[in-house]
Structures are given as C-alpha cells and as structure tokens.
C-alpha cells in the first residue's frame, strides 16, 4: 500500500523551525522534494505564518463554507426526511395515487433524485464563488470573483 507523505507539512510547521531560518519566516516543507517559496502577498503570509490576522481569515472562510454546507444539507434532509413523518401523520398521503401510480412510488422511486442533483449543483456553484471571493480578499491582484 502507498505510504503518503502526510506528515510532512504538519511536522515542518509544528516542529518549531529546527532548520534555523529567520524568525517569522518559517520554512514549510510541502513534500520531500519541494519547498515553499515566499510570495509577497501580505494576506497570504498572514495565513501561512498563522498570525492572528491569518487565523481570523481562515476561520471566516471555514465558517462560511460550513454555513453553506449545512444550509444545503438541512434543505436536502428536510425535503427527504420529512416524508415519513408526513406519511405517519397524514395517512391519506400514502393512500394517494397519481394516474393510478401510488404517490409513495413516485416520491421514493423518482422524485428525490432531481432534488439531490439540484442541491449539489447549487452547492458547487456557491462554494466556488465563496472561494473566489476569499481569494480576492487575500490577494486583490487575483481575478475578480464576479469577473
């Protein structure tokens, strides 16, 4: 089985800079044969060096992404998982037929799949926009998110 180079970036960042580089300019090893080079985007340096400003930035991104995910998840779960409760409270629902086909068959057999696809498509689109906005915030020289 393949042994991934997982520990590398983590170790290098956690191991209090054993290589003796200048303070505040931590050298982060990405893979054994690759090194991180400095790039003069101020926001990016904050992120990488884990300054309080950088930490705030990352937290805002993670929180925004999580909010979007939970919103989509809540919607998808409400649409699907409410069906058994509705059917239990209103027995007429599972007795209903549409053109001779039981409503249960239409809902469970066919109707949920387009909902899943729509939610997934919506999420992908908005997650991409969120990331583009964040990129623009950190690196104003990057392509504008709405361009």
């Amino acid at each position: 089985m393949p042994e991934p180079d997982l520990a590398d970036p983590a170790d290098a960042a956690g191991a209090a800079d054993p290589g003796g580089t200048a303070p505040g300019r931590q050298r982060v090893v990405w893979r054994s044969d690759q090194v991180l080079v400095q790039h003069d985007i101020p926001g990016l340096r904050d992120l990488r060096d884990d300054t309080s400003a950088g930490r705030l930035l990352v937290r805002s991104l993670v929180r925004a992404q999580l909010g979007l995910s939970l919103m989509c998840l809540t919607f998808a779960l409400t649409v699907t998982a409410s069906f058994p409760v509705i059917a239990a409270m209103v027995p007429a629902v599972s007795r209903t037929t549409v053109a001779g086909i039981p409503l249960t068959l239409i809902v469970l057999g066919f109707a949920f799949y387009p909902v899943f696809l729509a939610v997934g498509w919506f999420y992908n689109r908005h997650a991409r926009q969120l990331e583009a906005r964040f990129t623009h915030l950190v690196d104003p020289a990057s392509r504008r998110p709405d361009a």
């Binding site: 089985m1 393949p2 042994e3 991934p4 997982l6 520990a7 970036p9 983590a10 960042a13 956690g14 982060v28 990405w30 044969d33 690759q34 090194v35 991180l36 080079v37 992120l47 990488r48 930490r55 990352v58 991104l61 993670v62 999580l66 995910s69 989509c72 998840l73 998808a76 699907t80 998982a81 069906f83 058994p84 409760v85 059917a87 239990a88 599972s94 007795r95 037929t97 001779g100 039981p102 249960t104 068959l105 809902v107 469970l108 057999g109 066919f110 799949y113 387009p114 899943f116 696809l117 939610v119 997934g120 498509w121 999420y123 992908n124 991409r128 990331e131 583009a132 964040f134 392509r143």
Partner: protein, 577 residues
Amino acid sequence: MPDAAVGAIAFVTLLTIMVGARGIRVARTPDDFMVAARQVPPALNAAAISGEYLSAASFLGIAGLVVAQGLGALWYSVGYTAGYLVLLLLVAAPLRRFGAYTIPDFAVGRLGSRGLRQTATALVLVIGWFYLLPQMEGAGITLQWVLGAPYWVGAATLGVVVSCNIAMGGMKGITFVQCFQYWLKLCAIGIPALVLLIAAGHHASPNLTPDRAPVFTSATVVDLTQATSFTLTRSVTATVTGVLDQRSYRDQAVGLCACRHVAGAGTRIGFAAGAPVPVSLAMEPSSSESWDSPFLTSSTGGAHPLAATYGVIIATFFGAIGLPHILVRFYTNPDGEAARRTTLIVVLLLSSFYLFPTVLAVLTRLHAPQLYLSSDSDSVVLALPGQLLPGLPGELLAALVAAGAFAAFLSTSSGLLVSVAGAMSHDFMKGGVATFRWCAIAAGTIATIAALLIERFSLALLVGWAFAIAASSFCPLMVLGIWWRRLTRIGATAGIAIGGGSCLAAIVSTMLGAASSGWGAVFLGQPAIWTVPLSFGVMIVVSLLTQRTVPANVGQVMLRMHLPEALSRQAYRTSRL
C-alpha cells in the same frame, strides 16, 4: 439452466482475471497515483467511483426487497444516492486537499496518534468484512439460480477468484476498468428494465392499488421446481398436478384454504385470473404494513415503522462518507474543485442507475406476481426476464442480468478486499507486497466462510448494516476532523470505538436473534438511529475534556484542507531542489 447466463458470467469473470493478471505492477506507489491524478477527468473518475460503489445490494437486493416488503425498501436506493450528496457537502473538497489515501491515514495525519491508527484500522476491517459478506452471498444466489449449484459454490467461487486476483496484483488503481464496470452494470440492468417495460405493455393491473394483496392478472400456471411452503391470504380453488399438503393430485380442482400449504418439488398449480397470489416463506412481508407504505420494517419485525425507517435513513445518508474503499478514488482528482465536480457527477450516475431496480420491482409486482413463490427475494431480478419474455429473448436478458450482477460482486469485493488486505498488512503487520498477498487470501477466506453462515439475511439488509457501522464510526471522524479544530485524538478514538463498537454489537445480536419485536428490535436491528448521535456526542464531549491534546499544527492542517487552490498554488509555488 440457461447456457447464455453461464457463458456471460464466465466471460465477465475471465475478463476480470485477465485484467488483474496484467495489472500486477500497476499503482503501488503514491507517485503512480500522482501521475494518474493529472490525467483523470471528473466524468471518468465519477464513473469509476460509481462502478466500485454499486454492489450486490444495489443490483439484486433492493428490487427483491421492494417486491417482498413494499415500496419502503426504496429508502435504500434513495439513501445510497443521498450518501454521495452528503459526502459532497461535508467532505469532498477538503478531503482531496488533505490528500490521504485511507481513513487511518487521514486520522493520523489530522490528529497524529498510533492508538488512533489501530482503532481506525480495526474498524476498516469490520466494515470491509461486513460489506464483503453480501457480495459473496449474492454470488452464491446468482450461481444457485443459473446453475442450480448449491449456495456455497457461488460464494466460494467469488472468494477464490477475487482473493487470487488481488493477490496477483489486483484491479485497484485501474480507473478505466472500474469505469467500464459502471457502464456494464447500467446496461445490464437498464436494458432488461426497458425491454421488459415495453414487452409487458400498458394495461391496468390491480396490484398497484393501495392496500391490496397481489392477485394474478391472468390465468397462470405455477411450476414449483423445488419443495415450497407458501401462504394464501384468501381461500381459492386451483388446478393441481403433483403433491400438495401430502396428497397427490392429477389435474384436479382443489379448494385451498387461507392458510399455509406445502407443495412438493415438481408440483404445478393453475390459478384463475383474479386469484390471490400465494406467497412463499422467504417473500413474506415482515409486517402488516401495506405494500405501498413508505416505511421500511424489514429487520425489525414490523415494530415502530417510523423509527425503523429513520434508522435506515441515518445509516445510508451518513454511511457513504465512512466507507473504506471509496476514499482512495478521491485522490485521483486533480484538486478540491474537481473533487466536487466528480462527486456531483457520481450523484447523477447513481440516480440514473437506481431508476431501474425500481422499474424491475414494479414490473414483478404488476406482471409476474408468481415470483412471490421464489425461494429467495434476491433472485427475483434474475427470474423476471424469463417470466415476462419466454424463449430466447428472455434467456438472453437473464444472461445479461446475471453477468451484470457478477460484475457488481467482482468490482465491489475487489475494491473492498484491497482495502481490508491493505489495512491488515500495512497497519498491523508492517509488511511488504508478499504480506499484502497473504493478507488478501486470508481476508478473502474469512469473508467466504462467514458468507456461508449468513445465508438467510437479505442483501440490502446486510449492506445497510455495513453503512450503519461506517456512519457511527468514521463519519463523525471525517466530519469533525474537517470542520472542528478542537477535535482531539482521544476524543476521536473514544468516538470510533464506542460508536462503532455499540453498532457492531447491536447488529451481531440481531443476527443471533436477540430481539424480534418492540423497541428492542428497532434499536438492535437499525442501530444507526442511536449509535450515530452517540458517536458524535462521545467525540465532542471527550474532545472538550482533553483540550490540552489538540495537535499543535491544527491551524496549518485546517489551512491546507480549506485554502482554495488559487491561493495554495501561490502560497506553495513549488520548485525542485
């Protein structure tokens, strides 16, 4: 029985062995995956994921369960698809950016702990074996139906073929093969479904009307090839030739009471149109819910249908995240953005596939209710083509279904066995390729022997249980690991061990017949309803109590998982030393 089916199964199996033999040197090092990563477009990768994911339960199990238990069993197909939507929303892109190949790798990379790795590896083995069992069982049922061979022949054949194939080099890492498997499975279930739908024609049938036991839509003669015990819901007069209830008849009209009957092998019973359909023991619904009820009560003996249904919903919606053999496929996406696109396409491909088991199940109920006399709900899909299309066309369609089913067993069990053998050899024995081979053979043997002992459980049920264990152990680990920086290794280990352990204990006690009614049956038969919240809860509480052990590098790891590619490419603009 049909030669065409035997030929088709042999063809699929030989093809797999040949591809496996050629693949000995493929994809063993991280760099092979890195090379593949740049070449696999999302559509191809998505088909490969779906090919590995669609298993015996999807192919035979769901349709059979719908016929026997009712439309509520469709929650399984809804849940298996929704599992990928949940995966997309919660883990797809960060997981790809993190870059772990296996769940133990993720656990250690995120939280850094040896004890955690061993707990996670143990759970990989449990889930992998649970998921392997139904594949072996499905193979046993398929060969039983095609060849008339005993059940163990098919299970042992699959076990030997897959173990040897993996030991020789395996079909893992060959994206194209898994992709081909998806399209093969889609054709093998889609073409029969559409042809039979056209062949059956459109005429009204009373069998879809709510609250009705199925009736014969036309005069039907039922041939019982083996001794069958069946129940009638109403008394009826039928023409019997052969042995029935220990009396011999020869083309005589016999009044049958609404009770249990036993027919000898080779008995023929003729029913008039409108007569109630006799239901064999294996096809009897587990509850008094009507066939069109949206509740799923198999495995809980009909107790508390609403709670049992939510048990299945929780297990399947959150189980896909924790399956051990799917994660590595995400690594072949070039970046997080591509991982999201891939996952959305997977949802599309799964949605398309799952339309067809539904069609086959409804066709059985409408036009071939004599299949309620089957000895096994999982063989319904195999038998349907022959019932609706007599002669050569039916035989060819049945061959196609059998080949597709075998492809499903082969691809899923190969992927699982690679994960299980890899976990055994890599995490427990620290071995190289030779150890991996022995582990593959050992794991395959254990799964085959176990499969011989669990013949009486439905395929969809067994796979649902594998999902329940995954949902109550690895799902909280992945979700909290990605989104919650205060997770600690002690919290994660406790959550996996307590959640996964209690779920496993509940399922094993159900298999041993611990509780068959009331709340006990629900909590033991569909344990996800309490073990998933329990696992999340334990992980959060224990983590909060052990905040001193939060890894020091959590900020960097979170950054790595969540930083958009446009920035990480700049931040980590790389140069060769």
